[in-house]
Every structure is written in C-alpha cells, then in structure tokens.
Amino acid sequence: MGVMGSFKKFFKRLFNKKNARIGIYGPPNAGKTTLANRILRDWTGDAMGSVSHVAHETRRARRREGVTIQSNGGSISLDIIDTPGLATKIDFHEFMELGMNEAESKRRAKEATEGVIEAVKWLENLDGVILVMDATEDPYTQVNVTVIGNMEARNLPLLIVANKTDLPESSATSIREAFPQHPMVAISALEGKNIDTFYDEVAKRFG
C-alpha cells in the first residue's frame, strides 16, 4: 500500500466509528468456521477458512474486517474473528485414530495448543461473542461455561448459537435450558436453516 493508501486508511479510522469486534467461539468441531464462511459468503462473497470433521482444524484466529450485515431494514458493520476451538485437553492419539501419522498428529496437537492460547487472548479484545455449540452434544462443557463467565464478568453481549439442528439427534432445547439467561438462536450453519433469524439476532445484540 502506498503513502496515499495509508493516509486514506488513517482518515477512515479517524472519522468512521470503529466496527464492533465479534469473536466466534466454541468447542472444537462445533461449526464455527462453517458459520463464519456462511456469513462471509452471504455478505462479502469470500470465505474465512477451511472446515473439517477432524477437531482443531482452525489453529490460528482469522479476522475479517468490515462485514456489513443487513437485517430488518437496518445495517451493521462488524469485524468478525473466527477462533480456534477451545479445549482444556488435547491428545494427539485422537488424530492418529482418525488416520494421521504420528508426526502429523503431534504437530497438529502442538499447533492446536497454540491456537487455544490465541483464542483465549482474543477474548480481551472483543466487543461481543457468538458462542457456537453443537446441538447434538452436551452443552455443559467447561469451555462453554468459561466463555459465558468471561462475557458476563465483562458485561459484554453474547449470542448463543445452537448449531447442527439439521441432524435428527440435535436438541436446541437442552442448550436453551442450560443457559436460559442468554439469547439463543437455533440454526444449521451447513444448510443455512434459520440463518435470517440469526442475522436479525446479530443486528439486535451487537448493533
């Protein structure tokens, strides 16, 4: 970027209100990147990152600035951060069971630990969180409890997403019952089910 470009950027920062920074959080494999990709595809035309059934696919936080979402006549500009799945344990044997060799599995585990640290650090630089949970799994994981606790302690807005509701064994109700004090929206990030309600909630919570 040339000098003029930097100048433009500088003035833009100076005069435009800063976008709210929203982090997409959750346990590994919950569908955070699938949701981030959908948001970007719907509103910017590009994508956030790669998706996999193997946990800890995202091992570095990714930020996309200035995503403008329209809903109910209004519009809101956000910086969206897709974070690595949070965990309290990472065992490379799990990756070996899924067919990776030992060296590859150990490398993935190592990178995953660094990813978790990065995700925790980002928590302090956010204006709000979208917490993605897999609705086919038990909602009371430590990761969910810790993220919610941190947002409550800082009085920051939180939107819970019950994801994978296209699967017959999913239960959005058990997520709502686990954390009744926070707004929740049930979607399928994969199929796009209920995604308009999700955008309305995003605009309402973070606008």
């Binding site: 965990a87 038990d138 919610i148």
Partner: protein, 114 residues
C-alpha cells in the same frame, strides 16, 4: 483426592493459584475447589494448561464447574464489571478424570487410576 478450602486459595495471588493447580494436577492429583475460580482465572488456567501439554506425558486437564452466577448490582453496573459468584469446581488430569454427566446442579465424574 484433595479438597481445597476457600481460605487456602484466597491467600494466594492469581498467578500462584494457577501454578498451584497445574503443579498438583500434573502430579496426578484431583482437586476439589470449595469456591472455584473466577472466569478470568479459568481462562488463564486453560492458557497455562496449553503451554504444559507434552505428548505421552501430559494431555491437559478436565475441569468442571457450574455456570457462575452474576451479581448485576448497581456497583457492578457503575464499574462496568459484574461481580461473578464462583462455585465449586473439580479439576484433574485429563487421563484420570472423566465427566460422566453434568447438569445445572449436579456433576457426576468418573475417576480412574491409571
């Protein structure tokens, strides 16, 4: 299994607390913290755990606490910071402690001696 009283932890600085927990858990102990940790301390503990993970040696921790309760007091609103009431927490090595079932007011855990 070690039951750690509120007083014992209250005397420690946050860094000391996290260090103490990590050291005990890496020694194979399972800790029951009477008063639990604040959400910030939980986040720091997760971070510190990640730095300690070693293949074939330490795979991390299992930690179980109840959703904390937020005190939405006027003071909290003024300070833009809520007071979070922490609750009983169980922490142990991931290879020894498995959570079986958890709901709003009960934690069932399985302790294995490997």
């Amino acid at each position: 299994m070690d039951l750690v009283s509120e007083d014992r932890l209250a005397k420690m600085q946050p860094v000391e607390k996290i260090r103490f927990i990590i050291d005990e858990v890496k020694d194979g102990k399972i800790l029951v913290l009477e008063k639990g940790l604040t959400p910030e301390e939980e986040a720091t503990l997760i971070e510190m755990t990640m730095t300690q993970i070693e293949p074939d040696d330490f795979a991390g921790i299992e930690m179980e606490s109840y959703p904390s309760q937020t005190d939405k007091s006027l003071l909290g609103k003024l300070l833009k910071k809520n007071v979070v009431r922490t609750r009983l927490t169980v922490i142990g090595p991931a290879n020894k402690l498995k959570t079986l079932k958890k709901d709003r007011d009960m934690i069932s855990a399985l302790v294995s001696s490997k």
